[in-house]
């Protein structure tokens, strides 16, 4: 590699128009607190913007998690009315409203608003921006050997648009929240809370957040095309960047559709323009088509970044080139492409026979590239040198959970079985295994993997691994019973239920609190690391991509002292001794027997 970041402090001769020392870490504070705050607020540094996104997303994850726990607590037992011996009417099983002087209606009403809030926060404020906006922002320029993203000011604008969108969503929630469900199905969503502005505010929040996604995606596409370091071809990029590239394509192409749809809804609510409401001559199924034309591709906006992180974690902690690098890269693009033509599988109970058959067929096509990725990751473990760090545990957890999430999708793609399972807890469990069990697990794994790079501090790996097991076990305890419930006929979005589902709901609620313990442990580990963590080496895991090999931990303000030059692929662990590591720490594997040399692709 061209430059050695360990030589920080060496004089540089290229000109700078900045007043600060460009060899300092990007985290170095300014002279005063206000100057530091102002510096962060006006920064165009992709690293600072990424870190701000990281904290914002984690905070929103906390809020959405509280709503999720509230949902689980309410569902601990079914709502019942009983008349006591003295003739009093007593309502039990309503945890979200005071038990005295309440009504069934009040309990239902509160529950509906809480689960909607959970869905809206987790979808629009957590999962969609989570990996691309935080880790993607931080890592893509570093992985490509670039100084920043292609449009740094646009990047800052995306961050402020995200903040404005969040503000709209939180305002709407604070004044009472909406009960539309995160899917905003019409005509209910254009009727409910008639005359109140909070629903319009929530719709506008999703609309505004869409622009943040579009601009971030655009930025990444241009960055990947134009700012790769000299010598870095498309197939020399880390797979993380490939995943982000696929994600960005979908964001740029699909998000405008939801923007238009949400605006039409606002028009219908405010000015009674009949588009989706049949009483005004509209069509509710049209809304579902518009909505899922965006929201299905967005499912892959959520999962592709998770897959992107996995490829990197597995390669680095196994010290092995990802098996079938090109297949993994192309499957990202295949998923991004097919994602646009499967939206109808959310509507098997709402559309004609021919459309249902076509969408079912296409849905099974998208299963194949996802399966290919799992096969490739598991094959990568073969003859690897697996280091059991927290990120690697998260990678194994991801493979376990994503396999369940993917395989249960087969039930839902099959037309006749989907008529039974659609809109039940089976679907709830399935998409939680994909969205939370895969994307969020990958996100947390990724945070651990790059934590030392981002903050320059190590964390306590043992405690983080213990926290992982709480999260992993809690997650399965929460969502496995929901598969059973769903097959038994428990519909989703129910504030109460018939008695036979009680045991599954209670297991699920217990699981959600086990997960809470895990997440709180993680929080403690992170805080401990920031306060008292050991200083991180530039490349603690012996990785070979540029964010590890060519800059310090944390990176300097300008990322690299010199423009780095790619001299090897990101996963060529068989041939390259990782720089920035002690001799013998990560030895090259033994040479191959002569006759097998032909099948090994080396650079």
């Amino acid at each position: 590699m061209a430059s050695i970041p360990g030589s920080a402090g060496k004089a540089h001769d290229h000109a700078h128009d900045h007043g600060h020392g460009h060899d300092d870490s990007y985290l170095t504070p300014k002279a005063s607190i206000t100057a530091t705050i102002w510096d962060w607020m006006t920064t165009v540094d992709h690293k600072k913007i990424g870190v701000m996104y990281l904290f914002a997303v984690l905070f929103m994850f906390f809020l959405g998690g509280v709503a999720a726990l509230a949902v689980r607590v309410e569902l601990w037992e079914p709502t019942k009315t009983a008349i006591t011996a003295t003739g009093q009417t007593v309502i039990t099983g309503q945890a979200l409203v005071p038990s005295e002087q309440t009504t069934i209606d009040a309990g239902n009403n509160t529950y509906n608003r809480v689960f909607t809030l959970h869905g809206l926060i987790m979808t629009f404020l957590v999962i969609i921006p989570s990996i691309p906006a935080s880790l993607g922002n931080f890592l893509i320029p570093l992985m490509l050997g670039a100084k920043d993203v292609a449009f740094p000011r646009l990047n800052l604008a995306s961050w402020y648009i995200y903040l404005v969108g969040s503000l709209f969503a939180i305002t709407s929630a604070v004044v009472g929240g909406v009960d539309t469900g995160w899917t905003f199905y019409t005509p209910y969503s254009t009727m409910t809370d008639a005359g109140h502005w909070k629903v319009v505010f929530m719709i506008l929040a999703a609309f505004i957040l869409g622009f943040s996604s579009i601009l971030t995606g655009l930025n990444f596409i241009v960055t990947v095309h134009k700012l790769r370091a000299p010598g870095m071809g498309w197939f020399d990029m880390p797979l993380f960047v490939w995943g982000m590239y696929g994600t960005s394509l979908i964001q740029v192409l699909a998000t405008p559709v939801i923007g238009i749809t949400l605006l039409l809804m606002v028009l219908e609510r405010l000015f009674h323009v009949g588009i989706f409401d049949p009483r005004m001559g509209g069509d509710p199924v049209l809304f579902q088509h518009f909505f899922w034309f965006y929201s299905h591709p967005v499912v892959y906006v959520m999962i592709l970044p998770g897959m992107a992180i996995m490829s990197d974690i597995i390669a680095v902690h196994c010290r092995k080139k990802i098996f079938g690098y090109r297949a993994v890269a192309f499957s990202s693009l295949a998923i991004a492409g097919i994602a646009f033509i499967v939206w109808g599988h959310h509507m098997f109970t709402a559309q004609g026979e021919l459309a249902a058959a076509i969408f079912s067929f296409l849905t099974f096509l998208v299963a194949l590239p996802s399966a290919v990725k799992v096969f490739n990751w598991i094959s990568t473990l073969y003859k690897a040198s697996i280091g059991y760090t927290t990120p690697m545990w998260y990678a194994l957890g991801f493979l376990f959970l994503f396999s369940i999430g993917g395989l249960t999708g087969l039930f839902l793609g099959a037309l006749s079985v989907d008529l039974h399972l659609h809109d039940t807890y089976f679907v709830v469990a399935h998409f939680h295994y994909v969205m939370m069990g895969s994307t969020l697990i990958a996100f947390i794994g990724g945070i651990h993997h790059w934590w030392s790079k981002i903050f320059g501090k190590m964390y306590n790996d043992n405690w983080a691994t213990i926290a992982f097991f709480f999260v992993f076990i809690g997650f399965n305890l929460t969502f496995l019973p929901q598969f059973v419930m769903g097959v038994h006929g428990m519909p989703r979005r129910y504030a109460s239920y018939v008695d036979e589902f009680t045991i599954y709901h209670q297991l699920s609620t217990i699981g959600s609190f086990v997960m809470l313990i895990g997440f709180l442990l993680h929080l403690c580990v992170f805080i401990h690391s920031l306060v008292a963590g050991r200083k991180a080496a530039p490349n603690p895991y012996g990785a070979l991509s540029m964010e590890w090999t060519d800059t310090a931990s944390p990176p300097i303000t300008h990322n690299f002292h010199h423009e780095p030059i790619a001299t090897h692929g990101p996963y060529d662990f068989d041939d390259v001794v990782p720089p920035q590591t002690r001799p013998g720490e990560f030895p090259l594997p033994a040479p191959l027997p002569v006759k097998q040399v032909t099948v090994v692709k080396t650079k």
Partner: protein
């Protein structure tokens, strides 16, 4: 025990764990055993595909994860990082498996879409938050139950005070539900039939199946909660199945349930004959009670003084009443009434008006959210509701509790518009 019978045993155990017994030709044979061509068959095929794939994947992963863990002093081996044969095979084999699933699922789906020629067609309308079924002879169901057997008494029920309607279908004959909605999107879901279909306010959708078994629940082991029908002198034979709303439709979505009762063909014909003439076969108070339960009144109005999203009917009739616009209930509101009409005549008129045009005079403190029942209730049913409210508040007249024909004709034959039942 050989391997085959072990597999079959495992198969049966898995099926009984995952699926409650089905009761239509989409999942079971006429003798009640589940068959491979149906939904349950495909479910089990996919379940086995999942179990085998998952065990293989996780087994290989665990083996590698243990065998190739990093150990000090043990050098990593080199290995290939690409294999065309392997990579092609793990695309082709899953492709074959999933395309079998596709065709199998499409086959089962079409069976649920295309009704057989002699299907009994029943119109189902969803509304916030109940279901209404109309039979070919125009009959509607007056039967209701509470979902929890242990609490099956007036005013006390699982999931609130709300009784849910009971619909009957004949065993052994194809049934086609034509589905629509009066307001927002709902979804008509019968878990035991393995079917659901969305209902839309601007179109008809449909589902079709042949119910198999009309044996009483109580004879069967391991089935869902038995339900009793106290409205009838003796429990009717029939097998009960939950109907749920599966598409979120607002506040009381989770209470929008119903019961599907599969009865014999003979029983079915008797029931339909009875249902087609509720007003002619019950005293007005009973008609009112049936309407309250079966037509969605109970979703908002309690009859025990408990709170709901609309005024309770207990302690209501005959009391002074204030409206949202500040006026109060008196004869001046209804100039068409004869001079000297009693306060109760005014009340009768007000109730009739509120049923047909709910927003005309709005009760103070309640939103204008009730749908109009214009065309949904006959004059005899409206009269029954008024009689029931009179009885609840201790103001019942003799005629209210008499069977039709026992006393002088009440002069409210269905279809005759009457400004007020003042002649009572």
């Amino acid at each position: 025990m050989n391997a085959a019978s072990l597999m079959l045993g495992a198969n049966d155990w898995l099926h009984s764990f995952w699926m409650k017994p089905g009761n239509s030709d989409l999942s079971v044979n006429p003798d009640g055993t589940w068959h491979w061509a149906g939904v349950d068959g495909l479910f089990m095929y996919i379940l086995w595909v999942c179990i085998i794939s998952f065990v293989l994947l996780m087994g290989v992963m665990t083996y590698f994860a243990i065998k190739y863990r990093r150990r000090p002093g043990v050098a990593q081996q080199r290995s290939a990082n690409h294999s065309t044969a392997l990579e092609v095979s793990w695309v082709v084999v899953p492709a074959i498996i999933v395309f079998i699933i596709f065709f199998w699922g499409f086959h089962g789906y079409m069976r649920a879409q295309v009704a057989k020629v002699n299907a009994e067609e029943i119109l189902v309308e969803g509304f916030m938050w109940s279901w209404d079924a109309t039979y070919p002879n125009g009959a509607k169901s007056p039967w209701t139950v509470y979902l929890d057997d242990n609490r099956d008494s007036e005013g006390v029920g699982d999931r609130g005070n709300v009784p849910v309607p009971v619909f009957v279908v004949p065993a052994g004959r194809p049934v086609k539900f034509r589905l629509t909605s009066r307001d927002v999107v709902h979804s008509f879901y019968i878990p035991d039939m393995r079917l659901k279909m969305d209902t839309y306010p601007n179109r008809y959708t449909s589902m079709t199946f042949t119910p198999i078994n009309a044996d009483s629940e109580k004879d069967q082991a391991g089935t869902l909660t038995p339900l009793t029908a106290k409205e009838w002198a003796e429990p009717r034979p029939g097998r009960d199945h939950y109907i749920f709303c599966a598409e979120f439709c607002g506040k009381n979505h989770s209470q929008m349930a119903a019961i599907l009762r599969v009865v014999t063909e003979q029983e079915y014909q008797k029931i339909l004959a009875a249902w087609s003439d509720i007003v002619g076969r019950n005293p007005p108070v009973e008609v009112g009670k049936i309407v309250w339960k079966a037509k969605g009144c109970a979703q908002c109005h309690t009859v025990d003084g408990g709170k709901g999203s609309a005024p309770s009917w207990l302690g209501y009739y005959g009391q002074p009443l204030k409206f949202a616009d500040g006026r109060s209930l008196d004869a001046s509101l209804y100039p068409e009434l004869q001079a000297g009409a009693s306060f109760e005549d005014v009340w009768d008129n007000y109730i009739r008006e509120s049923i047909l045009n709910p927003g005309a005079h709005l009760h103070e403190g309640y939103p204008n959210q009730m749908p109009s029942y214009q065309g949904k209730l006959s004059a005899g049913e409206i009269n029954g509701v008024i009689a029931y409210m009179r009885q609840l508040n201790g103001k019942a007249r003799a005629i209210d509790t008499q069977m039709p024909g026992e006393a002088a004709p009440a002069g409210d034959a269905p279809g005759t518009p009457t400004p007020a039942p003042a002649s009572n």
